[in-house]
């Protein structure tokens, strides 16, 4: 990811390069399809800055001529598209954060996957929900029933959920975990599409060797 991004900023006019927008769109698709929260994509901040710059350029070219007006319209259209991806990406993450707030709160490993703002959001959300539950009902319950953090009360991501994925490079025979702890071998070739347990391809997804669909 880092490598791609650096390459891209230096040679922007090469359309063969994968642009930030496309990379973010892939992150958005992966995020939408995975049952777990994926690491935060820092491209969000870069793109927000780029959007700012682009809108300044549009503003500057506003009263040029008919051609410039048309180009501005196209730029505006693209900005709207990028904003849609950004919003949907962040909203998808917020949805998962709200769902798993309690779990994230107790797992510091998850903090690394969230942005600073998301961590603040998660903590505030959990505190608010806890406070609300306490005020509305738990207050009057016996003390031993007031605990909200019992292990089986915490909603956590189900990593056994099925996902659809496409293999991006030949990975050969891979051992995946099947039902009841049995393992089975699957041959993952480039461009194959599979429906598998998320757990089975989690590590490949992290390395960018598969993408979710």
């Amino acid at each position: 990811m880092e490598y791609d991004r650096e390459n891209n900023s230096t040679s922007n006019d090469d359309t063969e390069e994968i642009s930030d927008v496309i990379l973010l769109m892939k992150s958005w698709i992966n995020e939408r399809c995975s049952p777990d929260i994926l690491p935060y994509n820092n491209l969000v901040n870069d793109l927000l800055e780029q959007l700012e710059v682009q809108s300044e350029i549009i503003e500057a070219n506003k009263n040029e001529n008919v051609n410039a007006a048309f180009q501005n319209m196209l730029c505006q259209q693209e900005m709207d598209r990028v904003k849609f991806i950004l919003r949907n990406y962040l909203r998808t993450r917020l949805y998962k954060i709200e769902k798993y707030a309690n779990y994230i709160y107790h797992n510091s490993a998850y903090y690394e996957r969230l942005s600073d703002k998301e961590i603040i959001y998660c903590e505030h959300y959990k505190e608010l929900v806890d406070a609300h539950l306490f005020k509305s009902s738990l207050e009057t319950a016996p003390t031993f029933l007031q605990n909200l953090n019992e292990p089986n009360m915490i909603v956590k991501p189900v990593l056994d959920e099925p996902v659809f994925c496409r293999v991006k490079e030949d990975l050969g025979d891979v051992q995946i975990q099947g039902s009841q702890g049995t393992s089975l071998t699957v041959t993952l070739k480039k461009n194959n599409i599979f429906m598998l347990r998320y757990k089975a391809i989690e590590s490949f997804l992290e390395e960018g060797k598969v993408e979710l669909l």
């Binding site: 359309t15 350029i57 048309f70």
Partner: protein, 201 residues
């Protein structure tokens, strides 16, 4: 609620899928001169007729609607190729290798640029046929569902999205059943192990 209810089940809406497919590159023939266009996703142009140029589909559609370009249909979107694909689709059990976004791209193009595609009416019928055959195949593939892995090569995003809710539900239900039901050949010890593990959740 951060996300509307209908998209919370890992499903995309058809509009979103169309949106995703609009980032595919397509060749256009500009009809007017236009200077280089600097967009966030890349730089396109300068547009100098009659030099063809590759642009994302959404840009091509916008230009087409303003009568500023004509679209060159992709290689697979012609009557001969599609006839061959249909034959292949009929004779083989597997899905033929149509592009990942074939359904979305062809729908968008036939909608806004049917004058650029020769025999567009016949192509529409062919695509409809192919779609039907493929749908039938996915339906007959239902008995392949298991709780480990299913291979679905060459399926398009729209088709995947269509079967996703049902396949995921079946997959999950079978997984849960298998977790509770021990294998018939398993000994008593594994059984007790499994039940204890399940009660922990």
């Amino acid at each position: 609620m951060a996300l509307p209810k209908y998209v919370q089940q890992n499903v995309f809406t058809p509009a979103e899928i169309e949106f995703i497919s609009e980032y595919e590159q397509i060749t256009i023939l500009p009809l007017q001169r236009m200077e280089t266009l600097t967009l966030l996703e890349g730089t396109y142009g300068p547009f100098r007729p009659p030099i063809t140029i590759k642009v994302p589909l959404w840009l091509a559609v916008t230009l087409k609607k303003k009568h500023k370009c004509s679209i060159q249909p992709p290689k697979w979107l012609n009557i001969d190729t599609l006839k061959k694909k249909k034959q292949k689709e009929e004779s083989l059990e597997t899905f033929s290798d149509l592009p990942y976004h074939y359904l979305e791209i062809s729908t968008i193009l036939l909608d806004c640029a049917s004058d650029d595609i020769p025999y567009s009416d016949e192509i529409k019928i062919l695509l409809k046929d192919i779609q039907e055959i493929r749908k039938r195949k996915t339906k007959s593939g239902l008995d392949l569902i298991n709780s480990n892995n299913i291979q679905l090569d060459n399926l398009g995003l729209m088709e995947i999205n269509e079967i996703r809710p049902f396949f995921s539900k079946a997959f999950n239900d079978m997984r849960k059943l298998e977790e509770v039901l021990p294998n018939s050949q398993d000994s008593q010890t594994t059984q007790s192990f499994n039940t204890s593990r399940n009660s922990a959740y």
